[in-house]
């Protein structure tokens, strides 16, 4: 379409728009204002708890409960050091180690399986695919009691490698499902050319297909990072001695019901929240796309 044609079309569109607005329903501004009021109301409802928690991390326990809306008289920065002393530093480290290992291994094994299933027809291919796809539907709670004994039997309770392997196992279904669909959309010509040039099957995967699949790997990577970072049910039962961050926060709430150091609890919450929120604010389009893309399929 030429530039003039485009311009012409846009002008026509604008005329049409003006017509719809001017011909009727004079309530345009009314609707607009009302929409903003309703939407702002919900935005406030979502944001206030988080902002309140951030402010509470600098208040004394007494201030948090007796003057919930006020700012602290003097900011209590030692809340953060007492949160650290209560183990938040260890929890953070545990989370970082387990999620790094878990996501890398999930992405590697998941895309290897997805690639083979998407590109190599063999007997049993569909069966394996459905075996993984079914895993997306099962409630984790059906398996949690036997899973505990499996992990115990392998001597992997409260170990990094145990938690990593379990995270990988429970992230594989969706990763395989998603990457399978993605590899199917990629053109085959380049891979065929690489084979003609003498590239091995493994070489084609790592040197040709993985670079081509980057956008898909990014989406599912974000999905897995957030999913594993926020995982709670699996570590609660399988890693009681080595809590990850989400679990540590829950433990801290339980102990503050007796100790009453609420400022430190909110400091711990802030330490848990801020990195995730910053990543979200920077990459929010990718995060929203990554998290919703699977559901739309």
């Amino acid at each position: 379409m030429s530039v003039t044609e485009q311009r012409e079309q846009r002008k026509r569109q604008e005329q049409r728009d003006r017509r719809t607005t001017s011909t009727g329903r004079g309530g345009d501004t009314g609707i607009n204002v009302l929409s903003h009021v309703v939407l702002l109301g919900w935005a406030v409802m979502v944001m206030v708890p988080f902002i309140w928690a951030l402010v509470a991390s600098t208040k004394t326990s007494r201030e948090i409960f007796s003057e919930p809306w006020s700012l602290p008289e003097t900011p209590q920065w030692d809340n953060f050091s007492s949160a650290w002393d209560k183990g938040v530093g260890d929890y953070l480290l545990n989370s970082i180690i387990v999620v790094t290992g878990g996501v890398l291994l999930t992405m590697l094994l998941g895309s290897m399986i997805a690639y083979v299933l998407a590109r190599y027809p063999f007997r049993g291919n569909r069966a394996i695919y459905y075996l993984f796809a079914a895993g997306m539907m099962f409630p984790v709670f059906l398996a949690i009691v036997p899973l505990f004994f499996v992990v115990q039997g392998l001597g992997m309770l409260s170990t990094y490698h145990g938690l990593i392997l379990v995270y990988v196992a429970y992230s594989l279904p969706f990763t395989v499902f998603f990457m399978h669909a993605f590899f199917r959309t990629l053109p085959t010509e380049i891979a065929e050319a690489a084979v003609v040039d003498g590239c091995s099957h493994t070489g084609v995967f790592f040197r040709v297909m993985v670079p081509m699949a980057k956008p898909g790997l990014l989406s599912i990577g974000i999905f897995n990072v957030l999913g594993q970072w926020n995982q709670f049910v699996l570590p609660v039962f399988l890693s009681p001695e080595k809590p990850v961050l989400a679990q540590g926060i829950a433990n801290l709430l339980a102990s503050q019901r007796y100790e009453g150091d609420w400022g430190a609890l909110f400091a711990a919450l802030t330490i848990a929240m801020v990195p995730v929120v910053v990543v979200y604010l920077v990459f929010y389009r990718q995060v929203q796309a990554g998290l919703t893309s699977g559901t739309l399929k």
Binding site: R16, D17, T20, D28, N32, S35, H36, V38, L39, A43, V46, M47, F50, P68, W69, L109, I113, Y115, V116, Y120, F122, I128, F138, P139, V140, L142, A143, I144, V145, L147, V151, L165, V166, V168, Y170, L172, S200, H201, F205, L226, W229, N230, Q231, F232, V233, F237, A246, Q247, I249, L253, W262, L265, A272, M273, Y284, V287, Q288, T292, T295, L296
Partner: protein, 303 residues
């Protein structure tokens, strides 16, 4: 060459399949097996007891309470979440002034999506802790102080057996609306413009267009959302475990099946019995997913 091809296929599949088999497939299979035994989870011995565990479930009043609460969550959480998400998606898209009947977004569209989606990226314990403190039953609690502005009496929130489950429902809805708003919004923007233009030419107003055109075109997405939210409502373990008193209280008013499984399996030494509960949960999930997909199945509209 052919030999190498199979070696390659097996080499790529095997590591993942072994991990998946050990940690996912085998525990699921074992759960069905143990549900027929009196295994305590402590001693290695157990005996087969047939369907006794399931018979016992019929008389277990605590399990009935948990089941009833899960069913309440199952009714209210998907309904409220989808309704609110649809209303907000409508306001985001229709409030925009210029634009033919519902496609150009409202100003600040991006900000609203950014804000609404936020709870989705944080872990359930973080959200549960914040709400547990906001819903403090004392008059100086945050929620009660808001009631005070309007001259209303303070409420017991999570400490009130009649209110605690509604607090759980509220937090689940509060956390989910943004995700489904973004989902519906993405689905709406993939509907071709001509459809709205045709509706506008036929004289359909905004509300009519939304209810008669947009919602039916989103039906596939809504239906998938319903299944996802139902699965969420059947679990709810993390939120109940961290946020409620007890957990599961007061007076078992927030008991859910997942909590019962954890307590029986790990605290009471009834691993076989807990597995039977897991099997019930499994069939409930399958039943609901199948029923939803069947009941809401309409002719799919291609565009």
């Amino acid at each position: 060459m052919h030999h190498g091809r199979y070696r390659f296929i097996i080499g790529f599949l095997l590591p993942g399949i072994v991990i998946y088999a050990i940690f996912v497939i085998s525990p699921f299979a074992q759960a069905f097996h143990y549900s027929l035994t009196d295994w305590t989870g402590i001693s290695p011995e157990f005996e087969y007891v047939g369907l006794q565990n399931f018979e016992r479930l019929l008389d277990d009043s605590l399990f009935h309470t948990a089941l009833k609460n899960n069913l309440l969550l199952l009714v209210f959480v998907p309904f409220a979440t989808i309704l609110l998400a649809l209303v907000y998606a409508f306001l985001l898209n229709v409030g925009g002034g210029r634009g033919s009947a519902g496609i150009r977004g409202i100003r600040g569209n991006g900000f609203y999506k950014l804000a609404f989606f936020m709870p989705q990226v944080l872990s359930v314990p973080v959200i549960a802790v914040i709400w547990a403190v906001i819903l403090d039953p004392r008059p100086t609690g945050l929620a009660n102080s808001v009631l005070g502005w309007f001259g209303l009496d303070r409420l017991g929130w999570l400490a009130d057996p009649n209110l605690a489950l509604w607090c759980v429902i509220w937090v689940l809805v509060w956390g989910s609306v943004g995700f489904y708003l973004v989902l519906f919004n993405a689905a709406m923007s993939s509907i071709p413009r001509d459809i709205f233009e045709a509706a506008a030419l036929d004289g359909a107003g905004r509300y009519v267009t939304f209810i008669r055109v947009t919602v039916p075109l989103l039906w596939d997405t809504i239906q998938t959302s319903w299944v996802y939210l139902a699965i969420l409502a059947l679990d709810a373990y993390a939120l109940v475990q961290v946020m409620t008193v007890g957990p599961g209280g007061p007076d078992n008013s927030t008991q859910v099946i997942a909590l019962q499984i954890a307590q029986n399996g790990f605290n009471f030494g009834r691993a076989g019995y807990a597995s039977a509960m897991g099997v019930v949960l499994f069939f409930l999930t399958m039943l609901i997913a199948a029923a939803m997909l069947r009941a809401t199945r309409r002719e799919r509209i291609e565009y």
